[in-house]
């Protein structure tokens, strides 16, 4: 800890720079930033941009891990820079190395092109397909059903998982952990009318069966989500679609009824 009066501790922040319009290949710039206990890596970047070099470019908005803008590759790991304290990422040499998310085209500096990410997201039809005749009030869902969806619903679409997945690195046709997690959310939602079509959609070799269970998606996820488990669940369901569809139809007949307390 620095005490009052002692010299501030400085940290070297290495930022990967690249502007495709002028640079041939990426290079690193180094900046010195003072270390304070409450400073996040995003704060450090902000300081660099506003006080040292305004051309350092990155995305951010909410600054508390809810909007998904600021996923980057820091010291070899995908993280959100807004909720990671600077002090946690200083390596043995006293530096922090910030690079854009791997395996994605770079737009500028730390900003990557997530088009393939969003295309895959739209490909799984992320919207719920509701029943044509809805009740006057809410559909009834049990707390257990809600809890099962919770771990998919908090996904902030930051792309950390996607860009950590080795399969994505090789092959952008793979739907990817984020979109499969979304598909899981909709398939398991008792209110969705098309779980079977969804399973057919993601149950092919670009979908859940392209995952090689590398687990990087779990390691990378800043929201502690588990895309692998979702993928494994979808794999199982895809192999017994008919039975699942029948069970869903039964459940849907009861959607307007109070959940029986057990």
């Amino acid at each position: 800890m620095t005490t009052n009066g002692s010299r501030p501790r400085m940290v070297t922040v290495r930022v990967q720079r690249f502007n495709p319009d002028v640079d041939e290949k990426p290079y690193f710039d180094e900046f010195q930033v003072e270390l304070t206990p409450a400073k996040t890596i995003l704060d450090a970047l902000h300081e660099i941009k506003t006080a040292q070099d305004g051309s350092v470019t990155y995305r951010r908005s909410c600054r508390h891990a809810i909007c998904g803008s600021c996923a980057m590759y820091v010291n070899g790991k995908n993280i959100l820079v807004c909720n990671t304290p600077l002090r946690d990422k200083i390596d043995e040499e006293g530096t922090v190395t910030i690079r854009p998310l791997p395996y994605l085209p770079i737009i500028k500096d730390l900003v990557v092109d997530r088009s393939s990410f969003w295309e895959q997201y739209e490909r799984v039809k992320p919207w719920l397909i509701p029943s044509a005749d809805v009740p006057e009030k809410e559909f009834r869902m049990s707390s257990e059903e809600v809890a099962a969806l919770n771990k998919a619903e908090t996904c902030i679409m930051c792309g950390a998982c996607y860009s950590a997945c080795q399969v994505i690195a090789m092959n952008k046709r793979y739907v990817g952990p984020h979109a499969l997690l979304k598909a899981f959310l909709r398939v398991l939602d008792p209110r969705d009318m098309a779980p079977s079509e969804r399973l057919a959609d993601v149950g092919d070799q670009d979908g859940v069966f392209r995952c090689h269970t590398i687990f990087n998606c779990i390691d990378a996820c800043p929201k502690d989500l588990d895309p692998t488990k979702a993928i494994e669940t979808l794999r199982k369901l895809a192999q017994k679609r008919q039975a699942f569809e029948a069970a869903r139809r039964d459940r849907q007949r009861m959607l307007n009824e109070p959940i029986a307390s057990s």
């Binding site: 502007n19 002028v22 996040t40 051309s55 470019t57 508390h64 809600v146 919770n150 679409m157």
Partner: protein, 602 residues
């Protein structure tokens, strides 16, 4: 030149609802601009809940205002009603809210929640499968419907995904910089494609603004970096007046030094506020509602504690939010995000220690004046149209936090703004569909408005200026916090007014460091700062003019509410260059028989 039938600026709840509804109604060609990806919009940060009198939960009889809740048994008398919701909202607004708009909002509220539910929102549930509800400050019944503590996130994703289906074209990372209004007719916008740096004129038959709030004008704020009030400033620059801008809500529980929101749900679930003397000081200020008194009151109480030396933290500017008595299980189940944030940002696990917090700029009650259909009710000559006969800016709509309908009046109740953005976003969608389908036309624009804006960028890049954008932004935030914050008085406001004027002058000399075209966030920050300067002046002017205390606006030199003189909305429109805003006013819609003004006591 890009053309659409409808252009919507902003893809938060308000903009997305409008887009979805217009799409559903068969409007073919809708373009939605957002300066950040739609799912990054700040609506997603809302935690606590969305209000509606569903009558699913009620307090257990005889346990008082903080006791446990239970499901309302089928067939028993509903404990809550839209009427009660309406009264709470009016009281919360300190009688400055327009009661016709409030009535529409509370009546449509249950419908909106059910619509969200049917579209796939995963709300938390009661044991019998109905949507769970909790208490929220200023609401006299448990009517906050929630999805753990990421309600806004769930709503935003749901509505965005539904909008995706309806052929809406999203312009993600396009920055709107100008609104085109000629002869009281709105003709489109000018926007920059951030990726390429190209600036485009975009024409449309109707333009809708759902550009969100402007908490970024203050130093400590719960708002995202993106919440710079662009839409408000752009409309103002185009000649549209702004209403009630002096009402800025300070939330009582922002994370100490960061401002990041610790949801009101913390207090809704039973959290305590304590000072350095370990005392639940709300006993002194709101003995009945205690921590669940409305935000303005709690924030002021905290500020008083801090000012009187009972604050916590190294600079004594903090207060404790104590959740420990709720127990680990409840904290983990109901407030998981809160716990995560406290651990990540201040290294405190709320299960073991109280969380250091402080008041934080949070919500902007004022904005672009509209009617209940999102139609902007002011014309470009700076007049507010009080009744439907006037000619408003044709084809210009607004909803959500950037608009002022006004349902929040002088102070917004928690959970009412997600509701507002949804209800009035939806209504705007219908109004726009009607407007377009009844033969609205695409109007020509004079000259090349894009060129005008290219020059603004060029000036920032090549000009001989020497002022740093960031330095000005910092100074502005400091001024607004110190001199136009929770407590205000004439002297400090006058000082702020002068100061903001000086900074506006200095900004003319501002220049950016990044000179490239591609993804230039430095240029965006400059535009955003210019926008902050633009509307901050309006906030200060309104605060200076309003010589009373009402809701979130508190004048130490006029500590009483003054219904004789000030039961009216402030309207500000842009004066001649060098001159401050011109102020006028507009009456408040009050149903004198049902909800006449009363003293606001909690």
């Amino acid at each position: 030149m890009i053309e659409h039938e409808v252009i919507i600026v902003g893809a938060g709840l308000a903009g997305s609802w409008t887009a979805m509804v217009a799409g559903q109604r068969g409007v073919k060609d809708i373009g939605v601009l957002s300066k950040i990806h739609p799912l990054r919009s700040h609506s997603g940060a809302a935690q606590g809940g969305i209000a509606a009198a569903l009558n699913n939960a009620r307090p257990v009889a005889g346990t008082g205002p903080r006791g446990p809740l239970e499901p309302v048994p089928q067939g028993e008398d509903p404990p809550d009603s839209p009427e009660l919701h309406m009264f709470d909202t009016i009281k919360g607004s300190d009688w400055l809210g327009d009661q016709d708009a409030i009535e529409i909002m509370v009546n449509e509220a249950p419908e909106i929640i059910y619509a969200y539910e049917h579209m796939g929102c995963v709300f938390s549930r009661l044991p019998d499968g109905r949507i769970a509800q909790r208490r929220f400050g200023g609401h006299s019944a448990p009517r906050a419907n929630y999805a753990a503590d990421y309600t806004g996130h769930v709503l935003l994703h749901t509505i965005h995904e539904q909008a995706l289906q309806h052929g809406v074209e999203f312009y993600s990372e396009w920055y709107c910089m100008d609104l085109l209004v000629e002869d009281n007719v709105c003709r489109g916008v000018v926007a920059m494609d951030v990726l390429t740096g190209e600036i485009h004129t975009m024409r449309a038959k109707a333009v809708m603004f759902g550009t969100g709030g402007y908490g970024r004008a203050f130093e400590v704020t719960s708002n995202a970096y993106a919440n710079t009030g662009d839409g408000v400033a752009i409309a103002y620059n185009a000649g549209v007046p702004l209403m009630d801008m002096e009402f800025v809500q300070f939330h009582p529980t922002g994370l100490y030094e960061h401002g990041i929101l610790m949801s009101e749900a913390c207090r809704g679930e039973g959290g305590y506020l304590t000072n350095s003397e370990d005392e639940r000081f709300m006993e002194r200020y709101a003995p009945d509602k205690m921590e669940l008194a409305p935000r303005d009151l709690v924030s002021r109480s905290e500020q008083t504690e801090i000012d009187e030396g009972r604050g916590i933290g190294p600079d004594g500017k903090g207060i404790y939010l104590d959740l420990r008595h709720l127990g680990a299980e409840k904290i983990k189940a109901r407030l998981p995000q809160i716990r995560e944030l406290a651990i990540d940002f201040v290294g405190v696990d709320p299960i073991d220690d109280p969380i250091p917090i402080q008041p934080t700029a949070h919500y902007s009650m004022g904005g672009i004046p509209t009617d209940a259909d999102g139609q902007v009710i002011a014309n470009a000559d700076g007049q507010v149209i009080a009744d439907a006969d006037g000619t408003p800016v044709v084809g210009f709509y607004a909803a959500g936090e950037c608009a002022c309908v006004s349902v929040h009046g002088a102070n917004r109740l928690g959970t009412n703004s997600l509701l507002e953005a949804s209800v009035f976003g939806r209504r705007a969608g219908h109004a726009i569909a009607d407007f377009v389908q009844n033969g609205a036309e695409l109007h020509p624009v004079t000259g090349d408005p894009a060129e005008r804006n290219r020059q603004r960028v060029a000036r920032l890049m090549d000009g001989a200026g020497s002022e740093s954008v960031e330095a000005i932004a910092q100074e502005l935030k400091q001024t607004m916090t110190d001199d136009c914050g929770i407590y205000r008085d004439k002297e400090r406001l006058a000082q702020a007014m002068q100061h903001v004027g000086e900074m506006q002058e200095r900004f003319k000399d501002a220049r950016v460091m990044d000179k490239s075209k591609r993804f230039n966030t430095d240029v965006l920050a400059a535009f955003e700062t210019e926008h902050l300067l633009t509307f901050s002046e309006v906030i200060v002017a309104g605060a200076l003019a309003r010589e009373e205390s009402r809701g979130a606006h508190y004048r130490t030199d006029f500590p009483k509410r003054d219904d004789e003189g000030w039961l009216k909305h402030t309207v500000a429109h842009k004066g001649e260059p060098g001159e401050g805003p011109r102020l006028s006013d507009k009456g408040v819609n009050i149903d004198w028989d049902r909800f006449p003004p009363q003293e606001r006591k909690y």
